[in-house]
């Protein structure tokens, strides 16, 4: 073990900021990052054991105990469950002979649940040793487990490949792109390098101005004006600056970055280089969620090809800019820009206090722009065709186009590039969903809004219904509060970094209260409590996750109050406490019969 660890640590230049990569390599090598490994890594990096331990314990894909030689991570997010993940889980358990959360006695197969893996358009889906298996059926599961038992290589078990780059020899993935609507900006012809050739003639100031003119706002969801962000960063003091691309799309229901990364990788890298030129940065980092590691070899090759073509490195002999890829390891909160920065630095992905904002104090405390994959892609096109052209599309406050990911109860789940301003009714028609059979659309994922049919006339736009891309169509047949809200609350409390007490504690309490209501033990006051607590969460937490973590409940109370009221009792107080049930386990264990007096 010693020698292997030494080799891994040296591979990353004994740099503790590369702890994420080190831990990933160790996890891959030993199927876990044991306590012993933690201590040894700490010694090799000359940092304390707890510094390593805190990073290991933060990320879902780093495990203290062996996760199995074949580690199966089945997605149990809301849409996965809607598409039958429950049945798939049973098939895995039967075939493997262990329950989820366990590893077979021989250490060969480990079954684990994981949050959304960005495959909502082809659920149920699972990751096995980093490879994606989509559209699972019980028969396919049996085949997979049989293959594992024969000791097959996971990659060899994938025999049919998806469309486009998914079939590239460097990817060979069964993932499908499902591009359902080509738009004028992103899913259209694009000449690699054309925009870069243009910017070196324009000069940095003109580039920032062009981006400002386009009116583009951040595509990750928050919608901050990109040109303004770049302007701030270009004016920030200091010679060293960074460009970070946020490709940690973890919002359940979002998978548009997956498709952009697959099909438009160079367009995105070019956008990053344009950003570097505009703000005066010479280093870029693509922070890619661990779930998309299957794209690694292809993306690295894109970077190499761009370096060879002088579109990276010594760019067109005019300026220096290069990019490296940093992988996450299964933590939704790392999509928050400061959590992401912490993660790149090898730490727990706990969001920082703001201000200062990353444009002032970002990666390694240097001025940094953090933008979404889609934003960088769009910038390449904006430079190519001009800011005015871009601004000509969309609404007053949301210019250009948006790539949305539609999943759930519709005929054509997939990615759609649409011009901002489309109504939800139009969107339903586009994705082949019957509005009459749709009880709700979850806009912008769990942290967004659950919209009822009476509001389907609303527009997808930053000034009305903002979204980072997630659109989940919920059919009438679903139990909205159980299948969606409760699942989302489970997600929020799993993904809370735990730093702010309200986020750590209230989400738990709120989830329990929702369960109490769903079990028929709720009272009217519970609804009022939930509303009040969501409000507290939005005001007392540090980052976007905490502030919106009560949304699965608060937006359904707001828009579907009758669903709650149908379930609660009109009494002052009601307890679901059951003394006999609560003493059962301990009595059994010590060997006595419960004696309940009343």
């Amino acid at each position: 073990m010693e020698a292997t660890l030494q080799k891994i640590v040296e591979k990353y230049g004994k740099d503790s900021a590369r702890l994420m990569d080190i831990l990933y390599d160790v996890q891959t090598e030993f199927n876990c990052v044991s306590d012993e490994a933690v201590e040894k890594i700490a010694a090799l990096l000359n940092i304390s054991g707890v510094d390593v331990e805190q990073t290991r314990s933060f990320y879902h894909f780093f495990t203290k105990k062996p996760a199995g030689k074949y580690a199966v991570y089945l997605n149990n997010s809301a849409v996965a469950e809607m598409m039958g993940a429950g049945e798939i889980a049973k098939a895995f358990e039967t075939a493997a002979g262990v329950k989820f959360g366990q590893v077979t006695a021989d250490g060969k197969i480990g079954l684990h649940y994981t949050a959304d893996i960005g495959m909502n358009d082809q659920e149920p889906a699972a990751l096995i040793n980093g490879q994606v298996f989509t559209s699972l059926t019980p028969a396919k599961v049996n085949e997979i487990i049989a293959g594992i038992k024969e000791g097959k290589c996971v990659k060899d078990m994938i025999t049919t490949y998806g469309d486009g780059v998914n079939a590239n020899p460097l990817v060979k993935s069964m993932v499908k792109n499902n591009i359902m609507n080509n738009g004028p900006v992103l899913f259209t012809d694009y000449q690699v390098g054309a925009a870069l050739k243009k910017v070196v003639e324009m000069g940095p100031k003109a580039v920032v101005q062009e981006v400002k003119t386009s009116g583009i706002r951040g595509r990750g969801g928050a919608g901050f004006p990109t040109g303004m962000k770049w302007d701030f960063c270009s004016q920030a003091a200091g010679a060293k600056k960074y460009v970070v691309c946020n490709a940690d799309e973890g919002e359940p229901g979002t998978f548009k970055d997956r498709v952009l990364l697959t099909e438009k990788a160079k367009m995105m890298f070019e956008g990053m280089a344009i950003g570097g030129f505009a703000v005066g940065a010479d280093e870029g980092v693509l922070y890619l969620r661990g779930e998309y590691r299957y794209l690694q070899a292809y993306l690295e090759n894109c970077l190499k090809e761009m370096r060879d073509a002088k579109l990276l490195g010594n760019v067109l002999d005019k300026f220096k800019f290069d990019i490296r890829i940093q992988f996450g390891a299964g933590a939704y909160v790392c999509g928050e820009e400061t959590g992401l920065i912490e993660s790149i630095e090898g730490k727990r992905g706990e969001p920082r206090n703001k201000p200062p904002f990353p444009v002032q104090v970002g990666l390694y405390n240097k001025p940094t722009i953090v933008n979404n994959v889609e934003t960088f892609c769009a910038v390449s096109k904006i430079i190519e065709k001009g800011g005015e052209w871009y601004k000509g599309m969309g609404t007053a406050e949301s210019s250009g186009t948006k790539v949305i990911s539609i999943s759930g109860d519709c005929a054509k789940p997939g990615v759609y590039e649409v011009v901002w301003g489309m109504t939800l009714t139009e969107m339903l028609a586009l994705c082949g969903a019957d509005a009459a059979k749709t009880q709700a659309i979850q806009v912008a994922g769990p942290s967004g809004v659950c919209v009822p049919p009476s509001q389907f006339g609303r527009k997808i736009a930053l000034e009305d219904l903002p979204t980072g891309g997630s659109m989940i169509v919920v059919g009438n047949q679903r139990n909205l509060l159980k299948d969606l809200s409760l699942n989302f609350m489970d997600f929020m409390l799993d993904e809370s970094c735990g730093s702010c007490v309200p986020c750590r504690a209230l989400n738990h309490i709120m989830k329990e209260k929702l369960e109490k209501i769903l079990n028929g033990n709720g009272i009217k006051k519970d609804i009022a409590d939930l509303e009040e607590w969501s409000n507290s969460l939005s005001k007392t937490t540090r980052c976007g996750l905490g502030q919106t973590s009560g949304n699965p409940i608060s937006t359904t109370i707001k828009n579907f109050r009758n669903k709650y009221e149908e379930l609660v009792k009109d009494v002052d107080y009601h307890s679901d406490f059951d003394l006999a049930a609560s003493v059962q386990t301990s009595c059994n264990y010590v060997g006595r019969k419960p004696n309940i007096h009343h």
């Binding site: 307890s575 609560s582 003493v583 301990s586 009595c587 264990y589 010590v590 006595r592 009343h598």
Partner: protein, 182 residues
């Protein structure tokens, strides 16, 4: 009018909240003038002898005896107050809530560093003993609670102010410092 009757109890708590009650110092003489104590460790009355006006409880419920006690309080008190963190949220005892109860029992009676004389791994199972609950419950999950006084422990002034407000029907003085803990 006869004096209001007060009862108190410490369930799965550390008696720290009761110590805080005593911390009202010489005001305890005024308190004795104001109220009559019934079941309470303060006067050592073990069972309710009459209907009480106010019940004050520290600690959550970790075993069946706590639950029975709490139910008796709800039955015999017009107003019930959760006093302190453990009563309100479970507090320190609730740290075991993430751990299976079997593991907790093993740690307490067999494997803990201070256990040396239980080589046969005997677990307490006499019928007279309270039964351990699967987790530690805050009071309001078992009975209706009327008021909550936060703190670990709630400071003496808070308890005093609350009692005076309750008994005189006046508005309670609740400065920010006495309810803000961080």
């Amino acid at each position: 009018m006869s004096k209001p009757v007060v009862a108190t109890a410490s369930l799965a708590g550390c008696f720290g909240c009761h110590m805080s009650i005593l911390d009202i110092d010489d005001r305890i003489l005024q308190l004795v003038e104001l109220v009559e104590f019934n079941k309470s460790p303060i006067d050592d009355i073990k069972t309710f002898t009459k209907m009480c006006d106010v019940g004050i409880i520290e600690g959550g419920c970790c075993n069946s005896e706590n639950v029975e006690n709490l139910l008796a309080f709800r039955k015999n008190c017009k107003i019930l107050i959760s006093l302190g963190e453990c009563a309100i949220m479970g507090g320190l005892p609730a740290l075991r809530n993430g751990i299976p109860v079997e593991e907790c029992i093993n740690e307490a009676y067999c494997d803990g560093p201070t256990v040396s004389l239980n080589k046969e791994r005997i677990l307490p199972n006499d019928d007279e003993l309270p039964m351990i609950l699967d987790k530690v419950y805050p009071l309001h999950e078992i009975v209706k609670i009327d008021y909550y006084l936060p703190g670990c422990p709630p400071r003496a002034d808070l308890i005093w102010n609350a009692l005076v407000a309750l008994l005189t029907g006046s508005k309670m003085d609740l400065p920010y410092e006495v309810v803000k803990f961080d």
